[in-house]
């Protein structure tokens, strides 16, 4: 696969079509809001804003099979300088402690470094959701130094410690590039004690199954990456694949959709529902629109119920306790030990 769903003019490139599939559920599927109500959590509300998560665009140098953004080299939606400045204004005028920059490959946005340096100047913790291979692009050869100099926490996708499973999800040759990038980051001090430079890896299942227990698979990754490649890292986050966009296309194409949804629903965990990341995160789209999370963003489900819907209208008081839009896809964050951009939640 070298093109996005949009580039292939696939029906599932449309959020409307994805929602049609998700909402056309059989009686065997318990509606998410019903489970939420049984857990005493409906309607789900925010508890504050700890993290401003900015999706700076869909441009990426990879085309991963499970990507919920449908990011790819052929996607051109990208956050402008003007919108990036609005995000920085919000950081300046609030005390939101964390900035989480995602994409696409966020580093390919020409405003990425401006966002990082200004947020760091404001003494905010900055996280970069990095695909690793971006560090090997000729245009990004100083990226590692830049991230280290600004003490940016790197959160890097690596679905497995061996090439076959990694490449089956992220594309041929990606594992080798990822290993090379990790070696360079280790050489800069990332993942090494006493440097203050943090690199956390992200495990996504390479198919229609739930992730393993985070601690168990983290131990495997640490042992195998050190033994095979001499690589160290801080922590491993396990993240459940969300049944939207390209992963939804995979589920439907392989006739795994019903089974996967049943698996998620059977594994619904009220504790994970109480700790979902949308409750303390505000998600900003490339055009400045506001969402409860990156997944709602990709499903074109903006913040509703009267709270501001664009970064230019940011009003913390009204967003802090906003009502969160929920649907069947939310089972992806509430299964088992829970799933968030910071891994398991329970």
């Amino acid at each position: 696969m070298t093109q996005s769903l949009l580039g292939r003019e696939h029906p599932l490139s449309s959020a409307v079509e994805q929602l049609r599939v998700l909402n056309n559920f059989s009686p065997a599927q318990t509606p998410f809001d019903e489970n939420l109500a049984a857990s005493g959590l409906f309607p789900l509300t925010a508890t504050g804003i700890e993290t401003l998560q900015i999706n700076v665009g869909k441009l990426c140098n990879q085309t991963c099979h499970h990507c919920h953004v449908d990011a790819a080299p052929d996607r051109k939606e990208i956050m402008t300088r003007e919108t990036a400045e609005l995000c920085l204004d919000v950081l300046r005028d609030s005390e939101i402690p964390k900035l989480d920059i995602t994409g696409g490959a966020p580093e390919l946005n020409p405003n990425f470094r401006r966002l990082v340096t200004e947020a760091r100047r404001l003494d905010r913790h900055v996280m970069d959701r990095c695909n690793l291979s971006v560090l090997l692009l000729p245009s990004q050869k100083d990226l590692g130094h830049f991230l280290a100099a600004n003490q940016v926490e790197i959160i890097a996708s690596l679905p497995y410690f061996a090439a076959e499973r990694t490449d089956s999800q992220r594309g041929a040759g990606v594992f080798d590039k990822s290993v090379e990038a990790l070696r360079r980051l280790n050489a800069l001090g990332y993942g090494r004690e006493g440097t203050g430079l943090t690199i956390n890896l992200v495990y996504n299942p390479t198919g229609a199954f739930l992730p393993p227990q985070q601690e168990a698979v983290e131990a495997d990754f640490k042992r195998e990456l050190a033994a095979r490649h001499g690589i160290v890292f801080n922590a491993l986050y396990v993240i459940t694949n969300m049944p939207i966009s390209r992963f939804l296309e995979f589920l439907l194409r392989t006739n795994n959709y019903d089974r996967y949804m049943q698996r998620l629903i059977r594994a619904y965990n009220p504790g994970a529902a109480a700790g979902v990341m949308c409750r303390n995160t505000l998600s900003v789209g490339w055009d400045g629109s506001l969402y409860d999370c990156d997944f709602n963003q990709m499903l074109d489900l903006p913040i509703s119920h009267g709270a501001p819907a664009h970064i230019r209208d940011f009003a913390r008081g009204r967003l802090d306790r906003r009502r969160i839009f929920t649907g069947q896809h939310c089972y992806g964050c509430t299964a088992g030990a829970g799933s968030s951009c910071g891994g398991a939640t329970v």
Binding site: A162, P205, P212, A216
Partner: protein, 110 residues
Amino acid sequence: MSSYYHQDDLGRFGDVGKNAPGLWEKFQAWYNAVFAPGALSEREKCLIALAVSHAVQCPYCIDAYTQACLEKGSNLEQMTEAVHVAAAIRGGASLVHSVQMRNVAENLSM
């Protein structure tokens, strides 16, 4: 009926308890206790279950424990080796009976 086995039937396993609920509840409690982490990890127990599933040739069990092994973090190399263990024991069990054959043959022979 095209096949005696249907994937959806795995989800109806609980129906077995309809006519003997007390026994079903005991089975479930015991089954869940067996697979809880103990001296062996959940991952190890799932690999044993996968191997046994192949030994008893149960399609439902193979389906369930393939998924369970993946969800416990096992990879296909480990799962394949586990199945080879089951196959080796099955094959070895046949072969070791040839000692019986030899005993009988020796007894019958001059």
